[in-house]
C-alpha cells in the first residue's frame, strides 16, 4: 500500500508551479515534438562542423577564385564562387581582357559539368575486341602506357596526340616536350567548330603575318612540328567590333557562337550605347546570312542570302567598294537588279556605308566551311583590306586562338591511321567519333590504331573505340593556363580538389614522360614522391616565371607577380595593333572567283543544307547539361531538340507544317561506302520541321550537336544526329550550301518551345523608333498617351519609399538576346530544369526569360528581344490577390515572395500581366526526382543562400535578394553606405553588353535612377 496518495513533494508546490519532474516531462515532450516537427518532407541537409577550420574558409561566406573557363572554346576569364569549398557559380571576370565581366550561357553552366553524375570516376581499361571494360588504378595504367610508349618509340613508331584548344604557354610547352620526347610524335589540334578557314584565307591573302610572340623572339607557343602546316589557330586575327561604325557580317554569328561571342557582344554593344540626350553614336549592323542567327536578329538591315551566293555577294560588295582587279569585273553590279537575292540598291547602300567608314568598318564572315568558306574569307579579307580595316578594326598582331583547328593536320592524321601507321593515338578533350562525319574515315582509321588512349570526362562515343579511357579533371579541379588571344595569358586554378580519381592532361603527359626528368629539365627541385599533378603545378609556375614574368617587366618579385596573376586571373601583354596585315595578295582572289564559278549567277538550284552550332549546345559537348538543354534557343525558343528550319514560304510550298517529321537525304556523292553499317548505311536523318521566319527560301538549316548516344543520362537521345550530313572536302568539312533532298515521313514530333506566340499582335509592349527620330527627339517612340499627367490614374494614395528603393533598368537597345542572363539566374537561384515533357506543357521554371517577337513580315522579319522577369510592380497585382500574404512589398520596393507562407493558389500567376511567376509543379528540390534535375552529386552546386523550393509553391525573380542582403551586410561591416553598383544581380553580372542595370532608384546619382530619367 502506498504511503501517500499523492507525492508529498508535489503537495508542497503551490498550484501553478512546476516540479522538476514536470519540467523534465515537458522538456521531453517538447523535444520529441520538436523532433517530430523536424520530420517533415523537407530534404535533410547534413551539417558538417569544421573541426579543423581551414584557413580562409568561413562558413557562410563565399570565397572567390579567378580562373579561366576551359569548358568552352572562348576561354573567358571567370570568377568562381565557392561556398564551404564547393564551387557553386561562375561569373565573368571583369578584369579579364577577353570577356571583361560578361559570361555566356555555356560557360555559366560549367559547374553542372563539374558535378555531372555521369562523369567518369576512375581509369577504365577496355578490350576492344570483346567490348569488355575493367576499372583500374592510375599506377598500373601509367605503367602500361609507359611501357607501350617505350615499345613504340623503340621501333620508331608514331604517337599522335589529338586535342581541342589546349591552353596557354605552359600547357603548350609541355605538350611540345611530350611530343618531342617521342621518336615520331605529333600534336593535332582540331576543334569541331573552328576558324580554320579564316586562318587559311589569311595565309593565302597575306602570307604568314608576324605574331607578337614571334616578333619578340620567343619560342613559339607550340614547337613547330614536322609536317604541320602551321601552328594551330595562330592566324585568326582579333576583331575589334568596338571600333567599327559599320559592321557587315556574311553568315558569322558573332553574337552567338562565332569565335568569342561574349567579347564581341560587349564590343559591339559599346558602339551602340545611347544615353537619352538624343546624341550618341550607333554603329550599323548589316547582316547577310542564310539562316536567322542571333546576330541576324540584332541587325539593322538583314538580307537572307543562300550559302552558295555569299561569296558572290561579298565579291559584288568588293567591286562596288572600288575593288579593281580584273577578276572582280564579272561580279560588279553594273545593271543587275540583284546579286544572290540582295537588291542592287541595297548592295550599293551597304557599299556606300562601308566606303564612308574606311578604317572604321568591319566585315566578318562565317558559317561557310571548306573551300567555300576559304573563298568567302578571302573575299572578306580583300574587302577589309580595301577599306583599310587591317590595323584598325582587325588586329592581326594579337590573333585569336579560341577555336583552333587545322583540317589539313587532321586529314594527315586520318590518312596515317587508315594506312595503319599510327601506333598510338591519344585523344584528349575532343570527341571525334561523335563530331567528325563518318566520311572523314576517322572511325575506320581508329580501328587500325593498336593503342587508343582517351582522356575524357565521361564515357562518350569515342570511348567506345578506345583501349584506355582516362578520367580527366574538370578545369575547376585543376591547375592550368590559357592563351585565348595572343598576349593574353590566363590562369586556371583549382577551386576544389578533384572529386574523383581524375588527372589533367598535363599531369598525364608528365606521368608518362617521367615527371622527375621534366622537372629536372626545368631546374625544378621537387621531391621524387610528388604526384604528377604537383609536378605539373611546379612546371606551370616555372614556365610562367621563365616566359611571362620577364616580359611583364615588373619590378616585383615573381611570387608577387604570381599572386597578382592568381588574383586577377590573367595578365594582358598586348598593346595597340602593330600595323596592318601587309599587302593583299590579289592572286588569292582567284580562289574566291573560282568557287563562285559562273560569276554571280544564281548558284545551284534546290534546297541547300546548313548545319550550324547553336548558342546552347554548340558542337554537342554540353549535351548532358540540363540547364543548356533547357535553355531556349535565342532565335527559335525551342528546347531539348534539334529540328529543320524551313522558311515559311518553303514549308507552305512543300505542304509541311511545324512539327512534321521529314527525312533529310544527302546526295549520293556525299555518302561513303558503309564500312560501319551500324552508324551509316542508308540511314536517313529524320527531324521535325520548325518553320523559322528569316530562313532563306532555299535553305534547310539544322542545328548540329544533337543526337548524342553516349553523353549521359540527360543528353542521350536528345535530338537527331546530323553530323554525317556534312561533306568532307580536301579543304575541310563543308557544313553549308550542301545539296540535300527532303522526304516527308508522315510522322510528327513535338517540339518543346517556351514561347507561345511569336508576334506582338500590335500591342504596345515594345516601343521602337529609328535612330534618326531619336536624334530629333529622344522621347520618340515612347507612347504614354494613355496615361494622364504622366502616370496612370489611381484611387489609392502612393506608398512612400524612404531610404533605398531598388530598381532595375534593361536597355533593350543593348540586349542581344544571348540568354546568358537566363542561365545566370538559374545557377544563382537554384532553378531546376524541368525536362521536355514539362516544357511541352509550358512549365519552364526560368525566372528570367527572353521574349522574342517577329514583325509580321514572315520571310525576313524584324526581331526584338525582350528580357522578361518580375517587374517588381509598385502596385503589384499579384500581391493584392494572395490570400495569405505570401507575396508582399518590402520597404525597399521589392516584391517579395515568401516561400514558407505560400500555399500555392496560383492566383498571383493568373493576375500577373507578365506571367513571370513560376510554380513548383513537382518536388524539383528532391535530388532523386528526375535525371535532369539535381541528382547526386549535382545538389552540391546549389547556392546555399537560396532556398530550394518545395513542391506546390510559387517562386519568381527576387532581384537576387541574397545578393542585396550580402551587399548591405558588407557595407554595414565596413560602416559605409551601399555604393551604386556594389550590388549586382546575377543577370546583370552575366550580361556581356551591360544592358541590365540594378540599383537604388532613390539615389539620384545611381545609374539606374539616371536611366529612369532617360527620356527613352
Amino acid at each position: 500500500m502506498k504511503e501517500f496518495f499523492s507525492d508529498p513533494r508535489e503537495e508542497a508546490l503551490k498550484p501553478g508551479e512546476f516540479s522538476r519532474r514536470d519540467f523534465l516531462k515537458l522538456m521531453g515532450i517538447s523535444t520529441v515534438l520538436a523532433g517530430a516537427a523536424a520530420c517533415t518532407r523537407r530534404p535533410v541537409e547534413r551539417i558538417i562542423p569544421y573541426l579543423n577550420k581551414p584557413e580562409e574558409v568561413t562558413p557562410g561566406e563565399a570565397l572567390w577564385y579567378a580562373s579561366t573557363s576551359m569548358d568552352c572554346h572562348c576561354q573567358c576569364g571567370v570568377l568562381v564562387k565557392t561556398r564551404e569549398g564547393r564551387p557553386i557559380k561562375l561569373e565573368g571576370n571583369p578584369d579579364h581582357p577577353v570577356n571583361r565581366g560578361g559570361l555566356c550561357a555555356r560557360a555559366q553552366t560549367s559547374v553542372w559539368n563539374l558535378y555531372d553524375p555521369d562523369r567518369l570516376r576512375t581509369p577504365v581499361l577496355r578490350d576492344r575486341a570483346k567490348g569488355s571494360t575493367a576499372e583500374a588504378g592510375w599506377d598500373p595504367v601509367d605503367q602500361q602506357i609507359r611501357e607501350a610508349f617505350a615499345q613504340i618509340n623503340a621501333k620508331r613508331g608514331r604517337v599522335r596526340l589529338l586535342t581541342g584548344a589546349t591552353g596557354g604557354p605552359a600547357t603548350q610547352q609541355l605538350i611540345g616536350e611530350f611530343v618531342a620526347a617521342q621518336t615520331d610524335g605529333r600534336h593535332i589540334v582540331y576543334e569541331p567548330v573552328n576558324t580554320d578557314e579564316i586562318a587559311q584565307a589569311h595565309v593565302e591573302c597575306f602570307g604568314r603575318f608576324s605574331e607578337q610572340s614571334e616578333r619578340e623572339g620567343e619560342a613559339p607557343a607550340a614547337l613547330p612540328l614536322e609536317g604541320a602546316t602551321r601552328a594551330p589557330g595562330i592566324t585568326t586575327p582579333r576583331y575589334r567590333f568596338d571600333r567599327a561604325d559599320v559592321v557587315v557580317t556574311l553568315g558569322a554569328d558573332f553574337l552567338g557562337t562565332w569565335i568569342s561571342p561574349v567579347e564581341f557582344a560587349r564590343d559591339w554593344a559599346a558602339g551602340r550605347k545611347l544615353n537619352g540626350d538624343g546624341k550618341g553614336r550607333m554603329s550599323r549592323l548589316i547582316v547577310l546570312e542564310p539562316i536567322l542567327t542571333l546576330t541576324g536578329t540584332n541587325a539593322d538591315e538583314r538580307y537572307p542570302v543562300k550559302p552558295t551566293d555569299l561569296v558572290a555577294v561579298a565579291l559584288a560588295l568588293a567591286a562596288e567598294c572600288g575593288g579593281t582587279p580584273e577578276m572582280l569585273k564579272p561580279f560588279a553590279l553594273n545593271e543587275r537588279d540583284a546579286v544572290g537575292g540582295v537588291p542592287a540598291a541595297a548592295l550599293k547602300r551597304i557599299a556606300q556605308a562601308l566606303a564612308s567608314a574606311r578604317g572604321r568598318s568591319l566585315i566578318v564572315a562565317g558559317l561557310l566551311t571548306g573551300e567555300q568558306g576559304i573563298a568567302l574569307q578571302v573575299a572578306v579579307n580583300y574587302l577589309n583590306s580595301l577599306l583599310g580595316n587591317y590595323g584598325q578594326t582587325i588586329d592581326v598582331s594579337h590573333g585569336s586562338r579560341q577555336a583552333p583547328g587545322v583540317f589539313a593536320d587532321l586529314q594527315t592524321l586520318i590518312d596515317e591511321m587508315n594506312a595503319g601507321t599510327v601506333d598510338a593515338l591519344i585523344v584528349s578533350g575532343v570527341n571525334p567519333v561523335y563530331n567528325l562525319p563518318i566520311a572523314t574515315r576517322f572511325i575506320d582509321g581508329m580501328k587500325k590504331v593498336p593503342l587508343v588512349i582517351q582522356m575524357t570526362d565521361r564515357v562518350d562515343e569515342t570511348s567506345a573505340m578506345a583501349d584506355i579511357v582516362l578520367p580527366v579533371s574538370h578545369f575547376l579541379e585543376s591547375w592550368g593556363d590559357a592563351e585565348p588571344q595572343t598576349g593574353v595569358y590566363s590562369i586556371v586554378q583549382p577551386t576544389i580538389a578533384p572529386l574523383y580519381l581524375t588527372r589533367t592532361l598535363a599531369a598525364n603527359l608528365i606521368a608518362w614522360m617521367n615527371g622527375a626528368a621534366v622537372a629536372a629539365a626545368k631546374g625544378l627541385v621537387v621531391p621524387p614522391e610528388k604526384s604528377p599533378e604537383e609536378y605539373w603545378y611546379e612546371y606551370l609556375r616555372a614556365t610562367w616565371r621563365e616566359r611571362i614574368y620577364p616580359t611583364f617587366g615588373a619590378s616585383v618579385s615573381f611570387e608577387a607577380f604570381w599572386e597578382s596573376c592568381l588574383r586577377t586571373g590573367a595578365v594582358e601583354m598586348r598593346g595597340e595593333a602593330q600595323g596592318g596585315a601587309g599587302a593583299f595578295n590579289t592572286e588569292a582572289l582567284a580562289r574566291a572567283t573560282r568557287v563562285s564559278a559562273g560569276g554571280p549567277a544564281d548558284g545551284p538550284v534546290g534546297p541547300q543544307l546548313v548545319g550550324y552550332p547553336t548558342v546552347a549546345q554548340y558542337d554537342g559537348r554540353y549535351a548532358n547539361n540540363s540547364w543548356l538543354q533547357e535553355l531556349p534557343d535565342p532565335v527559335t525558343k525551342i528546347t531539348w531538340d534539334n529540328y529543320v528550319c524551313l522558311a515559311p514560304r518553303t514549308a507552305k510550298r512543300l505542304g509541311l507544317e511545324e512539327e512534321d517529321v521529314i527525312a533529310l537525304v544527302p546526295p549520293q556523292s556525299a555518302r561513303v561506302p558503309a564500312e560501319d553499317p551500324e552508324r551509316y548505311s542508308e540511314k536517313l536523318v529524320e527531324l521535325p520541321v520548325h518553320i523559322q521566319p528569316g530562313t532563306h527560301e532555299d535553305v534547310v538549316a539544322v542545328p548540329i550537336g544533337y543526337g548524342r548516344t553516349a553523353a549521359g543520362r540527360v543528353g542521350n537521345g536528345v535530338g537527331a544526329f546530323v553530323h554525317d550530313l556534312a561533306q568532307v572536302r580536301p579543304e575541310g568539312i563543308a557544313w553549308a550550301g550542301l545539296p540535300v533532298s527532303i522526304a516527308k515521313t508522315g510522322k510528327r514530333h513535338r517540339l518543346a518551345t517556351t514561347q507561345g506566340h511569336q508576334q506582338l499582335m500590335g500591342r504596345p509592349i515594345i516601343q521602337e523608333t529609328t535612330f534618326e527620330e531619336y536624334r530629333k527627339n529622344p522621347h520618340a517612340g515612347a507612347d504614354d498617351s494613355h496615361w494622364h499627367d504622366g502616370a496612370p490614374p489611381s484611387m489609392w494614395a502612393k506608398h512612400k519609399y524612404e531610404g533605398r528603393r531598388w530598381g532595375m533598368a534593361i536597355d533593350l537597345n543593348s540586349c542581344t538576346g544571348c540568354s546568358a542572363c537566363v542561365v545566370a539566374c538559374q545557377v544563382e537561384n537554384n532553378i531546376p530544369a524541368v525536362g521536355k515533357k514539362q516544357i511541352l506543357k509550358g512549365r519552364e521554371m526560368h525566372w528570367l526569360r527572353i521574349d522574342r517577337y517577329y514583325s509580321p513580315e514572315e520571310e525576313n522579319p524584324n526581331v526584338v528581344h525582350q528580357p522578361m522577369l518580375c517587374q517588381h510592380c509598385e502596385k503589384a497585382p499579384c500581391e493584392t490577390v494572395c490570400p495569405v500574404l505570401a507575396t508582399v512589398h518590402d520597404n525597399e520596393g521589392l516584391n517579395l515572395q515568401v516561400y514558407n507562407r505560400c500555399v500555392g493558389t496560383r492566383y498571383c500567376s493568373n493576375n500577373c500581366p507578365y506571367k513571370v511567376r513560376r510554380f513548383n509543379w513537382f518536388d524539383y528540390g528532391n535530388k532523386n526526382r528526375a535525371h535532369y534535375v539535381w541528382q547526386e552529386p549535382l545538389h552540391l552546386m546549389l547556392n546555399p543562400d537560396v532556398t530550394v523550393r518545395e513542391k506546390g509553391i510559387m517562386e519568381k525573380c527576387t532581384f537576387c535578394i541574397q545578393r542585396i542582403r550580402k551587399g548591405k551586410e558588407d557595407a554595414k561591416a565596413k560602416g559605409i553606405e551601399v555604393a551604386d553598383g556594389a550590388i549586382k544581380t546575377a543577370c546583370q553580372q552575366s550580361c556581356p553588353t551591360d544592358a541590365i542595370v540594378f540599383g537604388d532608384m532613390n539615389d539620384p546619382e545611381s545609374r539606374v535612377a539616371k536611366l529612369k530619367k532617360d527620356p527613352r
Binding site: 507561345g756 500591342r763 506543357k841 522578361m868 492566383y907 506571367k915 513542391k951
Partner: protein
C-alpha cells in the same frame, strides 16, 4: 394569388395529413431497392476515383493536373464555380420564395436545400485541393499564431473563404432548422430503437409546442431574410475572383449580376434534373407535381435569357471600350482555339431554354430532363470559357499557351459528381425529402377564423391570413 393554383392543387387533394407522413417517410421506412444500391455504388465509385486522383496529386504534386502557365486555373475553379452555382437554387427556393410567400416551394425546398448543402460541400473541395500545398490550406483562416501572421483581407480568395464558409454554415443551419419538426415526425413514427435514438437525437426533442413554433417561424423567416442577400453576395464574391483581377475577360463590372443569374439558372436546372428522378423513383408525383416543374422551367427560361443578355453585353462592352486587349479576348473567345467551348455555352444556355416558351414542352418530363442536362453542361462550359480563354491569351503574346486537362482533372470532376450524388442518395433515404410540416400547412381545406365570425371555406392551397 394566382388563380391557376385554385384549379390545380399543389398537392393531390385526396391526400390526408397522415398520407403525407406515410408517403414521404416511406423511403426511410422501407428497405432500399437494388436500384438505389446500384446508384449509390456508381456514385461512391466515382467519388473514389476522384479521391484516388486527389491522393495521387497530393503525393506527386499539383503538376499531375494539366494546368500550367498561363492557365493557372482551369477545371479546378470551373468545378468550384459550377457547384457553388448549383447550390444557389436551393437557397433561392427556400429563402427568396419563402419571403415572397410562394407556397409552391414547400414541396421542393427540402431537396433543393439539401442540394445546396451537398453542392457547396462539393464546391468546397476544389479550392482546398487546387492549392499547391493543400496541407497548409488552414493558413487561409485568420487564426492567431505564434508569428502574429494574419491573412490578406484584400484578396478575393479570402473573401471566398468567408463567403463560402458563411454560406455553407447558414445554409446548413437553415436546412437543419427546417428539418427539426420533420425529424420529430420521423422519430415518432420510428419502429426500431436505433431509429428512434438517431432521429430522436437529431430532432433535439422537438415537441410541436406552439411556443416553439412561434420562435421557429420567426427564426425561419429571419434566416430566409439574411440568406437572400447572402446568396446574392456569395456568387458576387465568387465573381470577384475574376472581376477584381486585371485580366481582360475577367476584369469586368457586370460579373456579379451575371454570375448570380447564371447560378440561379444552373441551380434550377440541377433541381429539375434531380426532382425528375426523385419524384419518379420515390413515387412523389403527388407532391412534386407538373405545376412545380412548370414553374421551375419558367425560371430557367427567364434566367437563361438574363445570362444570354450578359453574354451579349460582354461582347458589346469589349467592343465599346476600345481597349485592344479586351477586344482581342472576346474575339478570341468566340473565334479562337476554345471557340467550341464558347459555342457550347451559348447554344446550351441561350438557345436550349427557348423551348420553354411552349407550355407543352415546359410540362414534358423527358424534354425538361434533357434540357436541364444541357443547361448544366452549358453552365459548366460558361465557367470554363471565362477562366480558360481569358487566361490562355492575356497580355504578353510570348506567354500565350494552351490548356489540356489531364486524366486527373477528368477523374476529379467525375469524383465531384459522385461525391454530390452519393450524399444526395443518402439524403433521399435518410431524411424526409419533402418538408412535411410545411406541406401539411398548405393542406388546409378550410379555416374557421377565431371569434364569432362565420365559417368561411377557403380554396385549396390558398394563403391563410389572420
Amino acid at each position: 394569388m394566382e388563380t391557376v393554383w385554385k384549379k390545380e392543387p399543389l398537392i393531390h387533394p385526396r391526400k390526408k395529413l397522415t398520407d403525407v407522413d406515410r408517403d414521404i417517410c416511406a423511403p426511410m421506412e422501407s428497405r432500399p431497392s437494388w436500384r438505389w444500391y446500384a446508384c449509390l455504388a456508381v456514385a461512391v465509385s466515382c467519388a473514389l476515383v476522384g479521391a484516388a486522383c486527389v491522393g495521387y496529386q497530393l503525393h506527386t504534386g499539383f503538376g499531375v493536373w494539366g494546368i500550367s502557365y498561363p492557365v493557372g486555373w482551369a477545371v479546378d475553379i470551373t468545378n468550384f464555380v459550377f457547384w457553388i452555382g448549383i447550390g444557389h437554387a436551393g437557397t433561392l427556393i427556400s429563402a427568396i420564395l419563402h419571403l415572397f410567400r410562394q407556397r409552391w416551394r414547400t414541396s421542393i425546398n427540402r431537396s433543393a436545400e439539401a442540394m445546396t448543402i451537398f453542392a457547396v460541400m462539393t464546391a468546397g473541395i476544389f479550392p482546398l485541393i487546387h492549392t499547391g500545398r493543400p496541407w497548409y490550406d488552414f493558413w487561409l483562416l485568420p487564426y492567431p499564431n505564434e508569428r502574429g501572421l494574419w491573412v490578406n483581407f484584400r484578396s478575393p480568395l479570402l473573401w471566398d473563404v468567408f463567403a463560402v464558409s458563411t454560406y455553407f454554415t447558414i445554409s446548413l443551419v437553415f436546412w437543419y432548422l427546417g428539418l427539426v419538426p420533420d425529424l420529430a415526425t420521423v422519430r415518432d413514427r420510428a419502429k426500431t430503437k436505433i431509429k428512434k435514438f438517431i432521429y430522436g437525437f437529431l430532432a433535439l426533442g422537438w415537441n410541436g409546442s406552439e411556443r416553439g413554433w412561434k420562435h421557429y417561424e420567426l427564426a425561419h423567416l429571419i434566416l430566409a431574410g439574411i440568406s437572400t442577400p447572402l446568396v446574392l453576395s456569395v456568387h458576387s464574391i465568387v465573381s470577384f475572383d475574376f472581376a477584381v483581377s486585371l485580366l481582360p475577360g475577367w476584369h469586368t463590372t457586370i460579373f456579379p449580376p451575371y454570375f448570380v443569374a447564371g447560378a440561379i439558372f444552373s441551380g434550377f436546372a440541377m433541381v429539375v434534373t434531380l426532382l425528375v428522378i426523385v419524384r419518379k423513383v420515390f413515387g412523389l408525383e403527388d407532391y412534386i407535381t407538373l405545376q412545380h416543374m412548370d414553374n421551375m422551367n419558367k425560371i430557367i427560361l427567364v434566367t437563361g435569357m438574363m445570362v444570354g443578355y450578359a453574354y451579349g453585353m460582354e461582347m458589346f462592352t469589349a467592343w465599346y471600350s476600345g481597349n485592344e486587349f479586351e477586344r482581342f479576348t472576346f474575339m478570341n473567345r468566340a473565334l479562337g482555339p476554345y471557340a467550341w467551348a464558347y459555342w457550347i455555352m451559348v447554344s446550351c444556355n441561350v438557345l436550349v431554354p427557348q423551348i420553354f416558351w411552349s407550355k407543352k414542352l415546359r410540362r414534358s418530363i423527358p424534354v425538361m430532363f434533357v434540357a436541364s442536362l444541357f443547361v448544366n453542361v452549358g453552365m459548366w462550359f460558361e465557367r470554363f470559357t471565362i477562366i480558360v480563354t481569358s487566361l490562355h491569351r492575356d497580355y504578353l503574346p510570348s506567354s500565350w499557351g494552351m490548356y489540356k486537362p489531364s486524366f486527373v482533372e477528368v477523374g476529379v470532376t467525375i469524383g465531384s459528381f459522385g461525391f454530390f450524388f452519393m450524399w444526395f442518395l443518402l439524403f433521399c433515404r435518410g431524411l424526409p425529402t419533402i418538408a412535411m410540416s410545411e406541406v401539411k400547412s398548405t393542406m388546409h381545406t378550410f379555416l374557421k377564423p377565431f371569434g364569432k365570425k362565420k365559417v368561411k371555406v377557403v380554396e385549396t392551397g390558398e394563403e391563410y391570413v389572420f
